[in-house]
Structures are given as structure tokens and as C-alpha cells.
């Protein structure tokens, strides 16, 4: 059984008087331990699909299952709890709370668990170690470079040991060198730690790293074995 099962999902928006269909009857499987890139033009619904997998949005019709959870039909309170344990999410920007240090930012998901302060501290250090930022633990986001911020965001995304790591345009605001750092990290998370990764991206380099590339255009999902130039 695939980790993520998307079945006959429809999604439409009401914009003033007209109804816009983003996709109709989309189906997709994502295997455990896979590294998938989702590409496509703006407005094609890539982010929407990601949000629905994370339980942040609900399909108009259809079912989405992640692991044992039928995400498409859970209540928002249930989803919140489920998310804190099973999903790590990284955005293009504004991931980190500027008033908290890197350490405190990474700790956030663990505040929702019953772990003691010491236990939380250990996990945060491990996560920051994985992304290579242990020496910057007590820095504030404004003291970090763009790439370092994103790596901290990734540390936060994995600190609770989630099943699924979702990233929405993680390298969009970064320069070439920082992008490299982030993408190396993703590869390592997938190959060394077996994390299932789904990245929405415009970046060809990011798509390169993925083992599977999907294209979403006008509601249709196409599969490519390798990235298009």
C-alpha cells in the first residue's frame, strides 16, 4: 500500500459568480521512501494538492489517505493533531518566527507533544545536527542567511520524526549556493533517513534530485522519468 493514496479528487473554487475547477478526478499514489517532485505552471494547483495532502485544504470530492488516516474527511482539530505528528511542511518564505531563536523555532512542533523539556532539547539538537546548524542554535533568523533559514525550517519539519515531508518551492528565494545546500540535505534525508519527500517546485535542479517527477497542467497529472530542460 502506498503511503499517500489520492483517489478521484476534485477541487473547485468559487470566484465571484463563476466556479473554477482546479482538477477533476485526479488520482495518484506516493510510495513510502520516495522522493517526488511536482512541477507545473502557476495556478495549476500544485500547492493546492500539497495543502490537501497535508490536510490544510479539503477536496470537493474524492478521498485522500495518508498512512492510516483518511485525511480528506477528518475534522480540522483532528487534522491539526495528525499533522503535528505525521507531516513536516516547509514554505518558500516566512517559515521561522522572527522572535524565536533557531532552537526555539525547531522546538515548536515538540511543544505539542508530552515530551519533557530535556527530551525536547535532545531532539532539537539532533535535528539541527542533521541539517548542520548546531553551532547556530541560539541565533535569531535575522542572523542567518537565507539558506540557513531554510535548513532550520527543514530541521523543524523533521524534528517530530514525521512520515511525510512536504516542501512548497523551498529554493524559490535562495541563491545557487544556498539552493545546493538545501537540495543536498533533502537528498540525504531521503537516502540516509528514508524520509518520504514531496517537493513542489519550478526549479529544474530540485527536480533533478527527485526520483520521480510529476507535471500538473490544466488538472492533468503527467509523469516524467527525468526533468525537462
Amino acid at each position: 500500500m502506498a503511503l499517500v493514496e489520492i483517489r478521484e479528487v476534485h477541487k473547485s473554487f468559487e470566484r465571484e459568480t463563476e466556479r473554477v475547477d482546479i482538477f477533476t478526478g485526479l488520482s495518484l499514489d506516493i510510495e513510502q521512501g520516495s522522493f517526488t517532485a511536482l512541477m507545473g505552471p502557476s495556478g495549476s494547483g500544485k500547492s493546492t494538492l500539497l495543502n490537501m495532502i497535508a490536510g490544510l485544504d479539503r477536496p470537493t470530492r474524492g478521498v485522500i489517505r495518508v498512512g492510516n488516516a483518511e485525511v480528506s474527511s477528518m475534522s480540522s482539530a483532528q487534522l491539526a493533531g495528525w499533522r503535528s505528528q505525521h507531516v513536516g511542511f516547509v514554505f518558500q518564505q516566512f517559515n521561522l518566527l522572527p522572535v524565536l531563536t533557531a532552537f526555539q523555532n525547531v522546538e515548536l512542533p515538540l511543544l505539542l507533544t508530552r515530551l519533557s523539556k530535556t527530551e525536547r532539547g535532545e531532539r532539537v539538537k539532533i535535528a539541527l545536527g542533521v541539517v548542520g546548524l548546531q553551532d547556530r542554535m541560539h541565533h535569531y533568523p535575522r542572523q542567518l542567511s537565507g539558506g540557513q533559514e531554510q535548513r532550520t525550517a527543514i530541521a523543524r519539519a523533521i524534528v517530530a520524526d514525521p512520515t511525510l515531508v512536504l516542501l512548497d518551492e523551498p529554493t524559490g528565494q535562495l541563491d545557487a549556493k544556498s539552493s545546493q545546500e538545501v537540495l543536498n540535505l533533502l537528498t540525504r534525508l531521503n537516502e540516509e533517513f528514508g524520509k518520504t519527500i514531496l517537493v513542489v517546485t519550478h526549479d529544474a535542479h530540485a527536480a533533478e534530485r527527485a526520483k520521480r517527477v510529476l507535471h500538473l497542467d490544466k488538472g492533468t497529472l503527467l509523469e516524467r522519468e527525468e526533468a525537462l530542460p
Binding site: 500547492s47 493546492t48 495543502n51 497535508a54 490544510l56 485544504d57 480540522s76 482539530a77 491539526a80 493533531g81 495528525w82 499533522r83 503535528s84 505528528q85 507531516v87 511542511f89 514554505f91 518558500q92 518564505q93 516566512f94 517559515n95 518566527l97 522572527p98 522572535v99 524565536l100 526555539q104 515548536l108 512542533p109 511543544l111 505539542l112 523539556k117 523543524r156 512548497d168 518551492e169 524559490g172
Partner: protein, 380 residues
């Protein structure tokens, strides 16, 4: 608890705004406590009164005297243990700018009637022995720089002429509702200098059993009802309470202003909270993505408002309590025992909570209801 660092960090985002808002709350609570204490102090002076003491004055008002010959007849009434009397003198000292109560008393019986006025034994003796002696409240030592043994001259207003007395003793009240800045001298001296008219201002009676108050009071009034100087007798507390009502609607005034103050501060706090909330849309979205529930964010926002209001309240209420205590403030004698009561502090705490709820409700609802997806669109 574990979310405390997050709350503190949020407040630290705009330190200036947080501090200004807290100070505003503190100021408002200080004002509120002060206003309310005027009301409670007046109330307390109105409630003071020995449970076993009655006051008997002329039925026609305090301007009419009672014959001093009543003393023996009052003593003979069943239920009456002790009798004493006093006359209002109302003399001026110096330029008269600093008012203080001064009256003539039947010294021996008066001191026996009021054990709440504590006087050192030797000073008491000296006062009783000297017919032109005076007994003063401890505060007057500071106010005028008087010393025991010193002569002071009062200018009579209702009783004309200059009256020179020698300070023989200092009393300290054991109950804060009794003013500590009064002056007493011998009724005998007053009577002699005003032509032995035998006028007593009012009588104070000590009864054996507080339960008999109404019966004894009625007995007194009945005894003198058809004489040329009828009396009106009531408990000492009722007597003091009626004095407190002379202030008129002061309570209403203080309470109204107090409400205006609280309301004004509510506006300031709510404004500050809403400004913070508006700036945090994307952060709230991120927190929800991590898995913070709507309910949790609601509570956290409320608590943030609460930290501001409670800290401000503690500062303001604490300052009021300490300041008035330390400075021994008594509004120049008009408000003896001016002290912020526990009930005022509790009321202040309750207001702080209401402020938290009222100023936090809009931002908290906003945070709870924030549609993550919409907010995330602005994030990217």
C-alpha cells in the same frame, strides 16, 4: 508552562508597544485603586463604632446642647454601664490652613470609654491632672512639630478668644478608622470660661450588651422626650454613618470616574492587541501548519493579552498599595486610615481579567478562525 517562552517572545516583538501598553494599564489601575479607596475609606469610617456604644445628641441637631445634668440620669438607666460627653470646639491653630478636629471632653470618663485610644500611663496621668492640658493625636506631632509639654494656642471660633493649652499626652489609635490627628482638652475648662452654662455637646453611652442597643436608645429618648431638650439616640456606628453621607454623591462620582478610566484603558489595550494581531497573519498560518489547533491559538492569544493586563495591574495596584501605606496618606485628616483594601485589590484583579478577555477576544477569534490556506497564499 512550556508555551511561556513563546508568549514572552511575542510580547518582545514590539518591546516599546508592550511596555507602553503595560504602563497604561498600570496607570489606570493605580488611578482606579485610588478612587475606589476613597469610597472604601469613607465606608469604613461610617462603619466604625463600638458595638456597645451609643451616641445621644439633641433631637434638633448638633447645634443645640444638652444639659450636663443628664449625665447622672443616663447613668441610672438600666443597661448603661458608662457615660461620657464631649463638645465640639472647632478652634483654629496658626493660619488655620491645616484643619484638625478639636473638642472638649469629660477626660476621665472619655478615656475610659475609648480604649482604642492608647495613651502611655504617665502621659494620661499628666493630662488628667492639668485642667488646661491637651491630649493630641500622634500625627499632629509631625504636622505641626509639637512636643509634649509645649503650649499651643487655639483661636476659638464658636467660643471666642484665645485658648492656651499645654500638651500633656499623645494618643495612638489602635483602629485605623479613628483619626490620629485630633486634639482633646478638658470640658471643665470650656464650661468655666463660657460662664458655667453646663452645656454638653453629645453623650456617649456604653451599654452592657450590644443586643440591648435598641431598647436602651429608646429608653433614653423616652426619658427626655417631653423635656426642653429632647434627645435622639442611636448606635455609634449609625452616628458615624450619617457623617459619611454628608459627602453626598462622592461615591457615585468616584465610581463613575473609575469606570471611565477602566474603559479608556480597555480601548488602549484592545488597540495594541489588534495591531499585533494584524501583523502576525503569516506566523499564525505557519503555526497551524505545524499542528497548533484553532483552540490552542485562541488560548495563546488570550494569554498574551493576559500577560500585559495582569503585569500592568500588578504594577499599578501594587504601587497604590505601597505608596499610600508608606506615605501614611490621609488627605489632611479627611480620610483617616487611607489604605487600599483587599477587596479593592481583588476587584482590580478581576478587572485585569476582564481587560484580558475584552482586549484579547477579537485577536484570539481572528487567530482561531484564520483560514490557513488563504493566509498561506500571502506567505508565498
Amino acid at each position: 508552562m512550556k508555551f511561556f517562552p513563546l508568549l514572552l517572545a511575542n510580547l518582545g516583538r514590539h518591546k516599546r508597544r508592550t511596555i507602553l501598553t503595560m504602563l497604561s494599564v498600570a496607570l489606570a489601575m493605580f488611578l482606579f485603586a485610588s478612587l475606589r479607596t476613597v469610597v472604601t475609606t469613607l465606608q469604613r469610617t461610617g462603619e466604625f463604632g463600638g458595638a456597645n456604644r451609643l451616641v445621644s445628641m439633641s433631637a434638633s441637631g448638633f447645634m443645640v446642647f444638652l444639659p450636663v445634668s443628664y449625665a447622672n440620669r443616663l447613668q441610672a438607666i438600666p443597661g448603661v454601664d458608662k457615660v461620657t460627653w464631649a463638645n465640639w470646639f472647632g478652634g483654629r491653630y496658626g493660619d488655620g490652613k491645616r484643619f484638625f478636629a478639636n473638642f472638649a471632653v469629660d477626660a476621665d470618663s472619655y478615656l475610659a470609654m475609648y480604649p482604642e485610644m492608647s495613651v502611655p500611663a504617665d502621659q494620661k496621668e499628666a493630662f488628667l491632672r492639668d485642667r488646661s492640658g491637651a491630649l493630641i493625636g500622634a500625627r499632629l506631632l509631625d504636622v505641626f512639630g509639637w512636643r509634649v509639654g509645649q503650649n499651643v494656642t487655639l483661636i476659638g471660633t464658636g467660643y471666642p478668644g484665645d485658648w492656651t493649652l499645654t500638651i500633656r499626652g499623645v494618643y495612638t489609635p489602635t483602629d485605623p478608622a479613628i483619626s490620629d490627628d485630633a486634639l482633646m482638652f478638658h470640658w471643665d475648662l470650656l464650661d468655666e470660661r463660657s460662664g458655667r452654662r453646663g452645656d454638653a455637646g453629645w453623650y456617649i453611652l456604653q451599654i452592657d450588651n450590644p443586643g440591648n442597643a435598641a431598647t436602651v436608645a429608646r429608653a433614653v429618648d423616652d426619658m427626655f422626650r417631653s423635656s426642653s431638650a429632647p434627645t435622639k439616640t442611636g448606635t455609634e456606628q449609625a452616628f458615624n454613618a450619617s457623617f459619611a453621607t454628608m459627602w453626598g454623591n462622592v461615591s457615585l462620582l468616584m465610581n463613575t470616574i473609575g469606570m471611565a478610566v477602566v474603559f479608556a484603558i480597555l480601548l488602549v489595550t484592545a488597540n495594541a492587541m489588534m495591531m499585533s494581531a494584524r501583523e502576525r497573519t503569516s506566523e499564525i498560518a505557519v503555526l497551524k501548519t505545524i499542528g497548533f489547533t484553532d483552540g490552542r491559538l485562541f488560548v495563546l492569544t488570550m494569554l498574551e493579552a493576559g500577560l500585559i493586563t495582569v503585569t500592568g495591574a500588578v504594577l499599578g495596584l501594587g504601587a497604590a498599595k505601597l505608596l499610600y501605606k508608606a506615605s501614611n496618606f490621609n488627605a489632611m485628616g479627611f480620610l483617616p486610615g487611607f489604605d487600599v483594601t483587599t477587596s479593592t485589590l481583588l476587584l482590580g484583579a478581576a478587572i485585569a481579567l476582564v481587560l484580558m478577555l475584552a482586549s484579547g477576544i477579537m485577536p484570539a477569534l481572528r487567530a482561531a478562525r484564520l483560514p490557513v490556506v488563504q493566509a498561506l497564499r500571502t506567505v508565498e
